[in-house]
C-alpha cells in the first residue's frame, strides 16, 4: 500500500467507517512508514481534541437582550408582507415583459403584419374602423416625439434614437440590478 492509500484509510478511520481488513492493511503500512505514522498520531490527537470540544453556553443576558430586540421589531414583520411584495414585483415584471416582447415582435414582423392586414378583408375593415382613433393617438405620439427630439437635439445634438437607446439600456440595466438585488437579499435570508 502506498502513502496516498494510507491517507484515504486514515480519513475513513476518522469517519468511523474503516473496515477490519483495511485496518489491518493500514496498521501494516504505519509500521513501515514513519511519515504516515506521524500523520496518524496528529490526526488521532485531532480527533481526541474535537471530541472534547463542547458547545459553549451563551452569556446569561443573551436571551433577555434578544427578546427585547425582537419585541422592538415592528409587529407586521412576520406577516405576509414579503409575499405581497413578491406579487407586486412579479406583476410589474410580467407587464414589462409582455410589453417589451410584443413591441419587439411587432417591430420584427412589421411588414408581414401590414401585408396580412391589407389582404384579409374583415381585419382591414376593422383596421379602417379603428384607424381614426388610432390616427389621433399616433398624431399625439408623433407630437411628443417631435417635442422630445427638439429638446434632445437642442441639448446635445444627439440623434433621438441614440438617446432613446441609452435611456432604454440604462433602465433595463437598472431593473435587472434591482431584480438581482432583491433575489440576493431573499437568498441571504
Amino acid at each position: 500500500m502506498n502513502c496516498k492509500n494510507s491517507e484515504k484509510l486514515i480519513m475513513n478511520y476518522m469517519d468511523n467507517i474503516l473496515s477490519e481488513r483495511d485496518a489491518i492493511k493500514l496498521n501494516e503500512h504505519l509500521r513501515q512508514c514513519n511519515e504516515c505514522k506521524e500523520a496518524f498520531t496528529v490526526y488521532e490527537m485531532m480527533i481526541h481534541e474535537f471530541q472534547s470540544f463542547e458547545n459553549v453556553a451563551v452569556p446569561s443576558h443573551f436571551e433577555q437582550e434578544l427578546m427585547v430586540k425582537i419585541n422592538a421589531l415592528e409587529p407586521g414583520c412576520l406577516t405576509q408582507k414579503p409575499i405581497a411584495m413578491e406579487w407586486v414585483n412579479s406583476i410589474i415584471w410580467g407587464i414589462f415583459t409582455v410589453l417589451f416582447g410584443s413591441g419587439i415582435l411587432l417591430n420584427v414582423y412589421n411588414d408581414k403584419i401590414m401585408s396580412y392586414i391589407s389582404q384579409n378583408q374583415t381585419v382591414s375593415e376593422f383596421y379602417k374602423m379603428v384607424s381614426p382613433t388610432g390616427n389621433i393617438i399616433i398624431k399625439h405620439i408623433n407630437q411628443m416625439f417631435n417635442y422630445i427630439q427638439g429638446i434632445t437635439v437642442y441639448m446635445s445634438g444627439f440623434m433621438i434614437f441614440d438617446y432613446l437607446k441609452i435611456v432604454c439600456g440604462i433602465s433595463i440595466f437598472a431593473l435587472c440590478c434591482l431584480e438581482i438585488w432583491t433575489k440576493r437579499s431573499k437568498v441571504d435570508a
Binding site: V56, M67, I70, P82, A189
Partner: protein
C-alpha cells in the same frame, strides 16, 4: 413545552406567540453561539452575531419549509451571516494573528491546564483554515453533523463537502506539525 416539536413552535410564532420563539431560542442558542464563536473567536462579537442570527430567523420564520430539519435551516442562516460578516471584516483589513492572541488569553480557566493547552493548539490551527474548509470541519467534528446535512447547510454537493473536510483535515495536520516543530525548536 419541551415535547412540542420545532415545526409546531414555528407555527405558534407566526401566529404571534412570543413565548414560542423564546423556546426556539432556548433550544438553539448554544449551538448557534458555539459555531459562531469558533468562527470569530471573540465572545462579544459572537454574542452580537448570534443575536443577529435569531432576529433573521424570526423575520424569516414564515419562509421555513419543513423539508429541512430546523437545525439545518438555522445553521444555514448562521453560516451565511458569519461568512458574510467575516468577508466584510477582511475588507477592513483586520490582522488575523492579532485575533488569535486575543482569544487564547480570554478563555475561561476551568479545564485542566494541559487539556486546555492542547485544545488551544487545535483551536488555533482551526483558526488558520480558510472559511470554506473551516466551516465544514466545525460542523462535522464539533457539531457531529453528517456530510448530507453539511451539504444542505452550505449548499454544496456531497462530494464537495467530503473533499473540503478531507482537505481541511490535511491542512490542519500540516499546521499542527508545523506548530509542534516550532515549539520544540
Amino acid at each position: 413545552m419541551k415535547t412540542i416539536d420545532d415545526y409546531d413552535l414555528i407555527q405558534f410564532c407566526i401566529k404571534g406567540d412570543q413565548d414560542a420563539f423564546s423556546e426556539i431560542v432556548c433550544r438553539y442558542k448554544n449551538l448557534v453561539y458555539s459555531v459562531i464563536l469558533r468562527m470569530v473567536n471573540d465572545h462579544e462579537e459572537a454574542n452580537d452575531l448570534a443575536q443577529e442570527v435569531f432576529i433573521k430567523v424570526y423575520k424569516n420564520l414564515d419562509k421555513y419549509s419543513p423539508e429541512y430539519k430546523f437545525s439545518t435551516w438555522i445553521m444555514r442562516i448562521t453560516t451565511n451571516l458569519v461568512i458574510d460578516y467575516r468577508r466584510k471584516r477582511k475588507q477592513e483589513t483586520v490582522p488575523i494573528d492579532e485575533m488569535d492572541y486575543e482569544i487564547s488569553s480570554a478563555d475561561t480557566p476551568e479545564n485542566s491546564y494541559i487539556q486546555k493547552e492542547q485544545e488551544n493548539i487545535v483551536s488555533t490551527a482551526i483558526r488558520s483554515l480558510p472559511d470554506m474548509y473551516r466551516m465544514p470541519i466545525i460542523l462535522y467534528h464539533q457539531q457531529d453533523l453528517s456530510y448530507q446535512e453539511i451539504g444542505e447547510i452550505i449548499g454544496e454537493p456531497l462530494s464537495k463537502v467530503k473533499n473540503r473536510i478531507f482537505r481541511g483535515r490535511k491542512m490542519l495536520k500540516e499546521k499542527l506539525i508545523e506548530m509542534k516543530e516550532g515549539n520544540t525548536l
